[in-house]
Amino acid sequence: MKVRIDADLCQGQGRCFSIAPNIFGFDDLGNGVVLGDGELTDETIESARLAQSNCPEHAIFIEE
């Protein structure tokens, strides 16, 4: 499973990197970025999903 942020949808609401700072970071404008390759493990999948379900812009995608 892989997580990605759609940069066109992200508006820098800042929820993802607050909820899952081990998965998401931010750029110099405050937009969300995926740290590393975005590959999720059994340990990180749950917090990635929680971040996804808190993004007001629906900008986070988790894919097989």
Binding site: G12, R15, D28, L29, G30, L50, N54
Partner: protein, 402 residues
């Protein structure tokens, strides 16, 4: 308040400055959501108010049919002397694409999570100082002795304005946001001291540049060009107005909630790890800000016959209580895990100061409940709320409990 008829039916004659709306808008919105998802008014020259999450989201994201040229409802419309779209009077909030992205890019680094993290110790010190000043009294005012000072202190420092002008800033906020129903000529007159003050600050910064947002705006370049003086002026006014009232309201409303919900207060005191989640629920439930747009051309939209220059009031706080999106939307759930609230708006105009606002709110609540783990309203009838597009508790008489 001006003498005007009280609203009898908010579906056909809404007014966000009506005393009933100011005192408690939520039952009004709930009623509207059931029978009329987009309310209309002839007041302010005509306007619409969508109350559902879907309606608010659609308008917030649609920069093709709506302009942000003016985001605060009034009786007039921007005139020929005002900066036209896509720039508008206070970039970037008043800007439309494509200029919007340029104006926003200038502001975002100054308000990024990294920049705000660096400010946190100062924000905390300010809160502690205010609490020290309040001292060990049984009766305090969490509005006029605490909430109202925090954002004003932060913004003053950000802009590099004189430390003793705080009362003036609150007066400016009051003029811009609460005098919205005054006649247009009176509005113009009321804005004169604001213009004079900012002009003076700009001149002072031109003569004595320093490390603050004002000097940054005066010097920053887009493709080798400095910003137009109107742009600098507009962004400074925006920072002051949007940075003060909003966060002040969020802090005060959150403290009001805790003063009236002892179980939530006890949980937050005993489980400090809950704070980030609780802050999001405060933001959802007491979202202070509604924003306006103007309709660009006559059109049928959300099933309504909208006319050019009609207002649209974006009720983010109403969207946040839409039960089709939030389970138990009318209930404050302090540990609500999934919370896609729209307190900071949606789309390209997401509040540029959201990182700062969230940090101020969290630190202000943290320090307050650390100092006062138990409190209640000492005089519930004396609580007042601000008028207009930014809603928050103002007078908050508390009794500190031992």
């Amino acid at each position: 308040m001006t003498d005007k008829p009280l609203v009898q039916d908010f579906a056909s004659d809404w007014d966000h400055t009506d005393p009933k709306w100011v005192a408690d808008p939520y039952p009004i919105w709930e009623d509207l959501r059931k029978r009329c998802p987009v309310a209309h008014t002839d007041r302010y020259g005509g306007g619409w108010f969508p109350v559902t999450h879907a309606g608010v989201s659609a308008v917030a994201k649609d920069t093709e049919h709506f302009t942000s040229r003016t985001v605060v409802i009034g009786n007039g419309r921007p005139g020929e002397e005002d900066m036209p779209a896509p720039i508008g009077v206070a970039p970037p909030i008043s800007s439309d694409p494509p200029f919007h992205a340029i104006a926003r890019r200038i502001m975002l680094p100054a308000l990024s999570p990294a920049a705000v993290n660096a400010l946190e110790p100062q924000i905390r010190a300010l809160c502690v100082e205010l609490l020290d000043k309040i001292g060990d009294r049984e009766l305090i005012n969490a509005g006029s002795e605490y909430s109202q000072f925090i954002s004003v202190g932060v913004i003053k420092q950000l802009l590099g304005f004189p430390p003793d002008d705080e009362d003036l800033f609150r007066e400016f906020v009051h003029i811009v946001l609460e005098g919205v129903d005054h006649p247009q000529e009176q509005r113009i007159e009321e804005f004169e001291p604001i213009e004079a003050y900012f002009t003076k600050q700009i001149e002072d910064h031109q003569e004595n540049p320093r490390d603050d947002l004002t000097s940054y705006l005066l010097n920053v370049e887009i493709e080798g060009q400095k910003l137009a003086p109107e742009h600098v002026f507009g962004t400074m006014v925006l920072t002051l107005i949007a940075g003060i009232d909003t966060t002040w309201s969020a802090i005060a409303s959150s403290l009001w909630h805790l003063s009236t919900h002892p179980d939530d207060l006890a949980r937050l005191v005993n489980e400090p790890d809950l704070m980030p989640v609780a802050i999001e629920e405060f933001l959802r439930y007491y979202a202070p800000v509604t924003m306006a747009r103007l309709v660009k051309e006559d059109m049928q939209y959300l099933g309504c016959p909208m006319k050019k220059d009609d207002w649209i009031l974006l009720g983010f706080p109403a969207a946040n209580r839409d039960p089709s999106v939030f389970p138990d939307a009318g209930k404050f759930i302090i540990d609500r895990a999934e919370n896609r609230h729209l307190a900071f708006g949606l789309g390209i105009h997401r509040c540029a100061g959201s990182n700062l606002a969230r940090t101020e709110l969290r630190v202000a609540v943290e320090e307050f409940i650390k100092r006062f783990p138990r409190f209640e309203l000492s005089d519930p009838g004396a609580v007042t709320w601000s008028i207009g597009q930014v809603r928050g508790a103002r007078n908050l008489p508390f009794r500190i409990l031992k």
